[in-house]
Amino acid sequence: MRCAGTLRAFTLHIFIRLLAFLSLCLALPASSALAAPSVTQFNLANGLAVVVIPDHRTPVVTHMLWYRVGAADEVTGKSGIAHFLEHLMFKGTAKNPAGRFSQQLASIGGQENAFTSSDYTGYFQRTSREHLGTLMEFEADRMTGLVLTDDVVASERNVILEERNQRIDNEPSARLGEQVQAAQYLNHPYHRPTIGWRHEMETLDRVDALNFYRLYYQPDNAVLIVAGDVTPEEVKELAEKTYGKLERRPALGPRIRPKEPPQIVERRVTFADLRVTQPSLQRSYLVPSYTTAKENEAEALDLLAFILGGGSNSRLNRSLVMEKRLATTAGAWFQGTSLDDTRFGVYATAAAGASLERVESAIDAEIELVLDKGVTAEELERSKSRMIADYVYAQDNQSTLARQYGAALTTGSSVEAVLARPERLRAVTADQVRDAARRYLDKRRSVTGYLIREGAPREEKKS
């Protein structure tokens, strides 16, 4: 049991930096209470990267192990294997048979889950702080000790097919989204849905899973993030005793995926479904990510997405929803955290009586306005304040922080880059936002998807 005597004096290093900027933009007084240990990172001898984010407010800890592998690393024809393996990682090892990790975790009041994206796969547990060593023992064991049987694999395959049903096939807008994404990437594997195409998921087997596992699950392809009531020293000691015992394996090469050719043709897709009650549209553009962008283009795109469609005050909402009443929702987004070139999106749902063509013209007009006249100093400042404040709000949630750093380190970014982001956002000029818009919001780089109704009644019976 440990109770930090210095609770009040403690905060993250990030805070100091954030407060420095906030005091510029929001007239925040810098607090004197901020004596600051920083986010700490180090590597174990076997190549495992470790990041420690202390948060001593509550005696709990978030333990996350991230692998630098995701759906975009799959072999053609095996879509969904990264995510399927994520499920199968809960099926036991030679040392800890199926269920033991989960049961042990439940018995100490721990919570667990896992997630897969195009670029990474992560496993996490949250418990009270004294169990950190146990978590590490189990997680290190399943990095190399996974045991699978055909029966277990067959049953879990049904689970991922139901997951696909639940997330995608039961949801018309998700089905359209899958098509838009597939059409966006002509050559890069980001065209693949993370959960997989159904016809390929149905064929995935034990050998596929183990081949993928043996290739990618190794210490120097993983990142350990520990956030919570811990010190870097104790994390290091526990990690050495557990993960540190794993053998270093020959290094995987750099993660080089097929590149997109120049995108020279605007693409359009339309999906009709019986269950659509209001037509909607979604469009995405191929744009650089925080990892691939030159200079501060990614920060400029982040601000552009916010100004164009990040909330009630955004241009799309004010124009389409509030003034013209053409849409019931309208917005924009930028998926900045990505190893390779990523997407910038706009979307809207048509108001009753408005055609998607009119909605699209109104979106185009707003984009044209930014390309032509740029953004105002006032909206740029407001957006910066809001986005930088979000970094402060994130400090209130150790899981959010852990995810921020885990995602950065598995998409070719770094702790330093995350720490510098508020500063870099602050430095973006209105001209840079306009220039990023001019360069990337080019329809030839885009896919526009229409979701329309294919009407039919439904019937009902009572038994």
Partner: protein, 439 residues
């Protein structure tokens, strides 16, 4: 206003299995204006989270105008005092102030999050939203369109159809059976006078519950709540809502909808938060279907047979009724098999109850995981409000472990029977080849 300022400090560590950090103590404060709140002071992060609730919620909607409280919630940040919608939204964004409003069944709930430095503007905006909302023509029309679009969309969503119909069947002729988000027709009927009447009748100091977490002292917190809530009427004017027992047990209703995956909602009676058997029921439910990756239903439906991605049950305690509610989703041709397993596990738990080992594990989990509900300011503020609404006492976090430990195997078996020896009300939404009649 009284000049008296009281702060009853209970200096309670939130009791986390053997760990006690002095930072997490709950204090009951009473403001100079006489408004009570629970406070956890924490200056680690320069933020403030404030959660509050008024009795009322969707229950207070007139019978012919369901969706009124929900619509009020969607409009409170769309203009108040001398700030029109646009100006109000700009102020929030400039200062990164987050205001949330939700119409739950029994309460209207709200939250405020602000950087400490912007607290002055935050309290000002929230005070205006609660005491002087404008309900101007433009935002009312716009928000009405949005809400109507959402309820229309829900009419083809299997989850929404299942849930809405389940509640309608379980609670006919009672506010719980009415759709909290309204219908396209009911939303069309709601007038600005209705919106204003809801605010006038519901937002009052006598039904107000507050939880505050953040970088603020007792005096500051007292001033804060006086400024935000002090101008509200002293007493709410609520139409009494009768207590009710759920209907429809033993019924299985099938709604045909052409979707690849069939959605199943099921449930039966529950038991109240103040019931002496509550903790036994809480443990039994955890073992039956509440434990997200450990329950019997999870094991039988997902782990053993791969029938679903998830299956879950929960105890739902409300002011006027209690239920046990569950749900899952499976492919159309497996809906019958899945339902049969759920019914068999329900019968088995009612007949045999849990084993000693299951009970011990459930206790260990529910005790050990409690701390995870207290690791962000927002979560703590939410807990402070919920513990007050449930009338559990300021020392509840300390006593909770012992209350779980006190449940014996005999208690659990008796309460398993009390809770689950029942037929279920079941809604099945999916393709017609679904389950045959079995009830």
């Amino acid at each position: 206003m009284s000049r008296l300022f009281t702060a009853l400090v209970f200096a309670l560590a939130l009791a986390f299995a053997g760990t006690a950090c002095a930072a997490s103590k709950i204090e009951e404060i009473v403001s100079p204006g006489g408004i009570k709140a629970w406070l956890v002071r924490d200056n680690t992060v320069p933020l403030l989270s404030l959660d509050y609730a008024f009795t009322g919620g969707a229950n207070a909607d007139p019978a012919d105008k369901p969706g009124l409280a929900h619509m009020v919630g969607a409009l409170l940040d769309e203009g108040a005092g001398d700030l029109d919608s646009r100006t109000f939204q700009e102020r929030m964004e400039e200062k990164a102030i987050q205001l949330g409003f939700t119409a739950a069944r029994d309460q209207f709930r709200g939250s405020l999050r602000s950087l400490s430095a912007n607290l002055g503007e935050a309290e000002n905006l929230l005070r205006l939203a609660l005491t002087a909302p404008r309900f101007d023509e433009e935002p009312v029309a716009r928000i009405r369109d949005q809400l109507q679009a959402q309820v229309l969309r829900a009419t083809t969503s299997p989850n929404d159809i299942a849930s809405k119909r389940w509640w309608a069947e379980a609670f006919p002729d009672h506010p719980y059976g009415r759709p909290g988000h309204g219908t396209a027709e009911s939303l069309a009927l709601i007038t600005v006078d209705d919106l204003k009447a809801y605010v006038r009748n519901t937002f009052a100091r006598d039904t107000l519950t507050i939880g505050i977490v953040g970088d603020i002292d007792v005096e500051g917190a007292g001033r804060l709540i006086d400024r935000i809530f002090g101008a509200l009427p002293a007493k709410a004017n609520l139409t009494p809502v009768p207590d009710v027992a759920m209907h429809g047990l033993g019924e299985r209703i099938v709604v045909n909808l052409d979707v690849p995956q069939t959605v199943i909602s099921f449930g039966g009676p529950g038991l109240g938060r103040s019931d002496p058997d509550f903790f036994a029921a809480y443990l039994v439910n955890h073992i039956y279907g509440g434990g997200s990756m450990t329950s019997r239903l999870y094991h039988e439906v997902r782990e053993k047979r791969g029938l679903a991605y998830g299956v879950r049950t929960s105890l739902v305690w409300m002011d006027h009724a209690n239920i046990t509610s569950g749900g899952t989703a499976t492919r159309a041709d497996k809906a019958g098999e899945t339902l049969a397993i759920i019914e068999e596990e329900t019968r088995r738990m009612a007949a045999e109850g849990p084993t000693q080992e299951e009970l011990d594990k459930a206790k260990a989990y529910l005790k050990g995981s409690y701390a995870l509900s207290f690791d962000t300011s927002s979560k703590i503020a939410g807990q402070l409000v919920q513990i007050q609404l449930d009338k559990l006492g300021i020392d509840y976090p300390e006593r909770r472990g012992a209350m779980l430990d006190a449940v014996t195997l005999a208690d659990a078996r008796r309460v398993a029977k009390r809770l689950l020896d029942t037929k279920l009300l079941t809604l099945v939404v999916g393709r017609a080849q679904g389950p045959s009649k079995t009830n």
